[in-house]
């Protein structure tokens, strides 16, 4: 039951996007998200859609696989859209009982659906094409300047990668404890929400105790292998930009400029032609 949960899902494939430096992918994702809020008008979003489609095509991750991971978020997305649709004041279009759909509401709802949808697909392209390890490495290197204001960047990255390493181990342990408690007639399934929550106590307490014990052992093992934080540390797999990474950066800048220009210029051009 617990095995089925996949965290930081990675889709193994051999594509340009997979081979890009994780810093490029992280940076692009952040810029893409910002662009969704900077662009306005239908033409800006057309450019964003084009860009996203291109990246997905290049990544060789099947679109269906991508959508499958999004199902759980559709519910959240539709709630936000519905609220915006009905609760925005303005020029009324349709009236259903006490609730009216306004022109502004419709515009806002569509905009929000596009923004959130693109945001989720965009960031899932990143997690699908980057291993958790590369991701933490990339984050560490990107956030290194924050070291100067005393943010323990290396330590945070190390914690993330250790957490990732221990997820399957703790899952297995949870499974084992669960079976042990079931064998002693523990009941995890029946009853209302409060009873169910209460029944988790005999599961969580031993799990926490064992997690702390593991953490203690691991800290000792790390120190025994001369771990003393990020200073003076070398990397077995250091990150180096290759030619394709610079090209990717140029493409992203082109995309940003193109998107903003399209949003501003195309409507003007169109109105000139029509007039």
């Amino acid at each position: 039951m617990l095995r089925e949960i996949t965290l930081g899902q990675y889709y193994q494939a051999d594509s340009v996007i997979h081979r890009l430096d994780p810093r490029v992918k992280l940076g692009t994702t952040v810029l893409f998200i910002i662009s969704l809020f900077v662009f306005d008008g239908i033409w800006g979003y057309a450019v964003a859609a084009l860009f996203l489609a291109l990246v997905i095509k290049l990544s060789k991750v099947p679109f269906r696989f991508m959508i499958k991971g999004m199902r759980s978020i559709v519910f959240l997305l539709s709630i936000t859209v519905i609220f915006n649709l009905f609760l925005t004041p303005g020029e009324p279009l349709v009236q259903i009982w006490k609730f009216g759909i306004t022109k502004e509401g419709l515009r806002l709802a569509v905009l929000l659906a596009i923004r959130l949808g693109f945001l989720i697909i965009g960031s899932s392209v990143m997690t699908l094409t980057t291993t958790p390890n590369q991701l933490t490495d990339g984050l560490e290197k990107m956030l290194k300047p924050l070291n100067r204001i005393k943010v323990p960047v290396h330590e945070i990255a190390m914690m993330m990668s250790i957490a990732l390493r221990f997820i399957p181990i703790l899952m297995e342990e949870t499974d084992k404890i669960m079976k042990a408690q079931l064998a002693r007639c523990a009941d995890f399934e029946s009853g209302n929400l409060i009873r169910k929550a209460k029944s988790l106590v005999p599961l969580l307490v031993p799990l926490f105790i064992s997690a702390f014990r593991r953490a203690n052992d691991l800290a000792m093992a790390m120190e025994a292998r001369c771990y003393r934080g990020g200073e003076h540390r070398t990397k077995m797999k250091p990150l180096h930009y290759a030619g394709r990474d610079y090209i990717a950066y140029i493409i992203v800048v082109c995309y940003l400029v193109g998107g903003i220009a399209a949003g501003k210029l195309i409507p003007v051009l169109l109105s000139n032609i029509l007039a």
Binding site: R165, R233, T234
Partner: protein, 289 residues
């Protein structure tokens, strides 16, 4: 000859037991006046029952614990000296009991590279060290695997490779086989013996399995924090009755030879292997006629 690689003099280590409010309940002396002298290239085994203080002793050799009284020198450096802590940890590498709780990397090769990374070894050399260490324990073909997909014995061999990659003079193994099945135990002991024979790395093996110590150059038996018996495996295993008193299991052939001797057959003391036993038995039969 000067000082050995590891020298322990009059070591005493006390745990302070506290109750829930933090008041001192009592003091347990985990290691009580132990002295050892270990030379470069030795294979030393420390035997003892649970709570005999053998693990506490092991943790002193890697500067994880510091002596309450007495001194521990590793390669001529006092472990109490804070400046040499990292040198000591590099000289005397340590392998622990639970394979899951000492593997840090998400891929085998990354875990083996962890120690050299910490020491600031250049990238190219890290790769060389990782390759040679994984080959030394016979795990090279698994270098791209996730540690979660390996058996216990394989995980322990990866842990050993992780220590060798730091180029230590000595490795301390704190009950490395306690959580393994018999097959995994054999794998690990074979790898450890190869390191000692081929690479001449000093090995200090802490264990409670008697079969694992018969290849050692010297055996120390601990009980209640003290070293109660020491010598070559043959000398130690000659004291079958004493070992039984300490609740340690003697290897079956040793026990059988001992029982035969007690019944009046002319068997030698401290028979260690099946081969030796057979030879001794042949001799015995021809003598008795």
């Amino acid at each position: 000859m000067g000082m050995g690689l590891i020298k322990v003099k009059d070591l005493i280590y006390e745990y302070i037991r506290r109750d829930e409010e933090g008041n001192v309940e009592g003091i347990t002396t985990a290691v009580d006046d132990v002295s050892l002298d270990i030379n470069q290239g030795d294979f030393v085994a420390v035997l003892g029952h649970n709570g005999s203080g053998k693990s506490t002793l092991a943790k002193h050799l890697n500067a994880i614990l510091y002596p309450t009284e007495g001194t521990v020198w590793v390669d001529g450096k006092d472990t109490k000296d804070e400046k040499s802590v990292w040198d000591i940890r590099q000289t005397a590498g340590m392998v622990f009991q639970n394979p899951d709780n000492q593997i840090i990397g998400q891929i085998v090769e990354e875990d083996v590279g962890f120690g050299p990374e910490n020491m600031g070894v250049p990238t190219k050399e890290i790769w060389e060290r990782v390759e040679e260490s994984l080959k030394a324990v016979g795990m090279y073909q698994f270098r791209k695997f996730s540690p979660n997909k390996l058996s216990g014995g394989q995980k322990q061999r990866v842990s050993i490779a992780g220590v060798i990659a730091m180029h230590p003079k000595c490795i301390v193994l704190d009950e490395p086989t306690a959580m393994l099945d018999p097959k995994g135990r054999k794998e690990v002991i074979r790898a450890v013996r190869a390191l000692n024979d081929v690479e001449r790395i000093t090995v200090i093996l802490i264990t409670h399995y008697m079969e694992e110590v018969i290849y050692a150059d010297k055996v120390y038996v601990m009980d209640k924090g003290k070293v109660t018996l020491q010598g070559t495996p043959r000398e130690v295993f000659s004291e079958v009755d004493r070992l039984k008193e300490l609740r340690l299991d003697v290897p079956q052939v040793t026990l059988l030879a001992h029982e035969l001797e007690k019944e009046g057959f002319p068997m030698p003391k401290g028979v260690l292997t099946n081969q030796e036993f057979l030879e001794a038995l042949d001799q015995c039969i021809s003598e008795v006629g």
